[in-house]
Amino acid sequence: MKKMTRLLSTLAVTATALLALAGCGQNQSSNADTVAQIKKAGEIKIAVFGDLQPYGWIDQSGKRVGYDLTLARKLAKDLGVKAKFVQVNADGRVDALKAGKVDLVLANFTVTPDRKEVVDFAKPYMQVSVGVVSKKTAPVTKVSQLAGKDVIVTKGTTAEQYFTEKQKAVTLQKYDSKTQQFNALKNDRAAALADDNSYLYAWVKNNPTYTVGIKTLGPSSYIAPAVKKGNKALLKWVNQEITKLNGNGFFKTDYEQTLAPYFGRDIQPEDIIITK
């Protein structure tokens, strides 16, 4: 008993200390010229995916490539600095910004109200919605088919959030990475897998025994660069840059080069990119 009490008090003291420490760190000045700081440092730290073909992945020569990476390099180039990439998983994107590990997130980051409260999103450069992929032999075409069944999602994704909030009859199997979630589907761990439709279009092209039975579920959402909450200078610069890139057709070229080879012919650039 005595031992137990001592242990509990130790834990309590530690927890209190951690909370106290966490509380005194919120003094970020929001007026600093972060763009000038990045230029001075000579590099911009950008969070990207490393395992999500064709948005952010690593090719055979060890080079990071993909739709997000092309944009990331363009931004760094126009800013006149080097891009330093930090590989993140889906649920590490917000914390990477909050902790100052990166200046910018370009990792297929979908804009949501919850995320807007903790990070600042720039103008979107892609639009997607949640889709559901299932076996062609047992296709899921209506969300009502999933009641009482298992659905695979990756932690921290829009799909996880949508199903948790709006489809409570569905049991979720949550995984840490894209690699794990697609393996789980192939191993028949669940009836279907939910994720942004843009990944699923690409995935079924190479896994033709599966189909995107539900193409859009819930509201359409947007993918945008994100900066740390209150980083106004960088946000403004990124917004101007996206407007400029939209004007000169950069995204269409990026789509043709990085995404088109991965999507079926029934997908048009306008289904994904934002041209206005």
Binding site: L21, G50, D51, Q87, N89, A96, G100, K101, T179
Partner: protein, 229 residues
């Protein structure tokens, strides 16, 4: 299909990258073992002293690091500490600091256990012979405690090596992280490739850990033979 998978392993920079990832794993494990081990020996020795407040403090330290999952510790140091203090370390530095603290906690328990396992009459005999405290430690306690601590220490080393697979959670490009990017870059065209990547990782971990494991078993057996005649 399987043969098409293995050939990809040696295309481009793929194998080189896996090796580099393994190098990161190895580097972190070795540094952690050196720093954490040294710290653990000191803390373990301190825990055998008769100071109540020190006992409580070090015991609390051990319990915290033993109870809180390592991945939570990593997240706290990687994400929370920078927000709280503005102390921003790289992923690898965070891994080394966190794992070293965890290793020191575990190590302190091994060392403490080994030190108190040496029979009391040994120390009393040493004192009767007129050895001072340092001499008692150096010539009587240490030579007998070391063999007792060795198997546990080696097992701890294999645990450290295996736990480095958590580093992918904090953006360190260790062997598992590299492996997953390799699998994902080729999964669409060559699903069998995943088998070869994970197989290679298995072999690399095995080559590193199996001899350690064997060594631990061997030393334990030898110690018992010596101790029990």
């Amino acid at each position: 299909m399987a043969h098409s998978g293995i050939s990809i392993l040696f295309e481009g920079q793929n194998f080189h990258r896996l090796l580099a990832g393994f190098g990161v794993t190895l580097r972190v494990a070795v540094i952690v073992l050196l720093i954490g081990g040294a710290l653990g020996v000191v803390l373990g020795a301190l825990r055998t002293l008769n100071r109540r407040w020190l006992q409580v403090l070090l015991r609390g330290y051990l319990e915290v690091f033993r109870i809180v999952p390592t991945v939570v510790l990593l997240f706290v140091v990687y994400y929370i500490v920078p927000q709280a203090f503005g102390l921003n370390l790289s992923g690898e530095a965070v891994a080394i600091v966190t794992f070293a603290l965890w290793t020191a906690a575990e190590m302190s328990d091994i060392v403490r256990g080994a030190l108190i396992a040496v029979p009391r009459h040994q120390l009393e005999a040493a004192e009767a012979l007129g050895l001072d405290r340092t001499q008692q430690f150096r010539y009587v306690l240490l030579p007998q405690a070391l063999p007792i601590a060795l198997p546990g220490t080696i097992n701890l080393a294999t645990r450290i090596i295996k736990t480095t697979s958590l580093l992918l959670m904090i953006s360190v490009m260790d062997i598992v992280n590299v492996g997953q990017t390799l699998v994902e870059a080729n999964a669409h065209k060559h699903p069998a490739f995943a088998f070869w990547v994970y197989g290679t990782m298995f072999v690399m971990y095995y080559v590193l850990c199996a001899p350690l494991s064997w060594w631990a078993k061997h030393t334990e057996k030898k110690r018992l033979e010596v101790a029990n005649g």
